[in-house]
């Protein structure tokens, strides 16, 4: 076929199109993913019983602040990755900042405690539940996010997949925080940070298959 014929075909009766809405679509998908993640947490795990005590509220806010920081930076970068040739003006390394901050807080908290408590502070009571819950809860937010990114035009599929995984991991950690009763900074740094990194790696390996267009 002649390319000219294709040009004629594509430009015949061209519809006006609402453009520049990639960011909005992906943001809505992440919010939907977050609502689903919260519902899964409520039904499957339940909110921690002592949530009204001030100590629980303090640690819940800390965990949420960490998760929101991760999602906020990662989402901004993901939106940039979903549009060809787009520049966001932020470095992908910016996503390391929340992780570095929580790791530093964890180390300070360990330094402040007697070494006999370290094991307990890092491993906590529910490390296995955390290790399993965050990636499992992340599945649906990941799928919804990938669906939205696919409607755009990512061109670096490994990186776009990784950031979709990072966003989903952060969203999932946010939901899991309402259930989690392990209140120590080193625990949050290791298990929240670690599982979100796992989600990121899973996203990076799935990206090329799920996002190709």
């Amino acid at each position: 076929m002649k390319t000219d014929d294709l040009v004629v075909m594509l430009s015949t009766n061209v519809e006006p199109i609402r453009h520049g809405r990639v960011g909005r679509t992906i943001s809505i998908a992440v919010v939907v993913g977050a609502v689903i993640a919260l519902a899964i947490m409520l039904v499957g795990l339940g909110v921690r019983a002592d949530v009204t005590t001030s100590r629980a509220a303090l640690f819940l806010s800390l965990k949420l602040a960490f998760a929101f920081a991760v999602v906020g930076v990662a989402l901004r970068y993901l939106i940039m990755l979903a549009r060809p040739g787009s520049e966001s003006g932020i470095s992908p390394l910016a996503v390391a900042v929340p992780f570095a901050a929580i790791a530093l807080l964890g180390l300070l908290s360990l330094a402040d405690a007697p070494s006999g408590h370290w094991n307990r502070m890092v491993v906590g009571g529910e490390w296995l539940e955390c290790l399993l819950s965050i990636p499992i809860i992340a599945i649906v937010p990941f799928a919804v996010t990938i669906f939205a990114v696919r409607r755009a035009a990512p061109t670096n599929l490994v990186r776009a997949g990784a950031f979709a995984g990072l966003v989903a991991g952060g969203v999932s950690a946010m939901a899991y925080a309402f259930h989690c009763t392990d209140d120590s900074l080193p625990f949050v740094a290791v298990w929240y940070g670690g599982t979100i990194v796992l989600c990121t790696l899973a996203g990076a390996s799935l990206g090329p298959r799920l996002l190709r267009w």
Partner: protein, 183 residues
């Protein structure tokens, strides 16, 4: 030689539904893409027909992904990133060991090739492989130039159904073209 500003203005008008601007834009892009792909593929011993396949794939991609262009940003990097993505995807698909040389965004603007070659596929034949509603919607609106309202009556579906079927049909066509290349 069209400049960034000129192409960008054409794209903005196209997104607003200006068919004449869109035709001019796609025509200019196809010349640039042709020069770009011929140069890239000739270096690794591929034919002009393959370059033309890629030109058509990218024109379809530009059409299907045009909502991802933000008019506040430059237009050339947007097209160039898509062109480069489709080249790498094509070479991977056709199992080439050749590496794609890293190139500059300016390169796609540098040349103009108007020698329209035939691509290896026939869109009319590919259209026949589409489900009836998609084929009907594309033929009435995009080939015969009828309005969406007319097509809705002729194809027996709603107006929004016509639009959706055109979009999905073009997506399927792009997928068919990619499959043809694989053989």
């Amino acid at each position: 030689m069209a400049s960034e500003a000129e192409l960008k203005a054409l794209m903005a008008a196209s997104l607003d539904g200006d068919a004449a601007s869109y035709r001019t834009l796609l025509d200019r892009l196809s010349r640039r893409l042709r020069a770009y792909y011929k140069g890239k593929l000739a270096r690794i011993g591929r034919s002009a027909t393959e370059a033309e396949d890629l030109v058509q794939e990218v024109l379809l991609a530009v059409h299907l992904k045009r909502h991802t262009y933000d008019t506040r940003e430059l237009f050339t990097p947007w097209v160039h990133t898509i062109a480069r993505y489709k080249l790498i995807d094509y070479l991977r698909r056709t199992r080439s060991a050749a590496s794609v040389p890293i190139d500059e965004g300016a390169e796609i603007m540098a040349q103009d090739d108007n020698a329209d070659a035939e691509s290896s596929h026939d869109v009319r034949k590919l259209l026949e492989r589409l489900p009836e509603k998609m084929r009907c919607a594309i033929e009435r609106v995009k080939l015969e130039g009828r309005s969406v309202a007319e097509a809705a009556v002729l194809c027996g579906i709603s107006e929004s159904g016509v639009k959706i079927n055109i979009h999905r049909g073009l997506q399927s066509l792009a997928a068919f073209i990619a499959q043809v290349d694989q053989k």
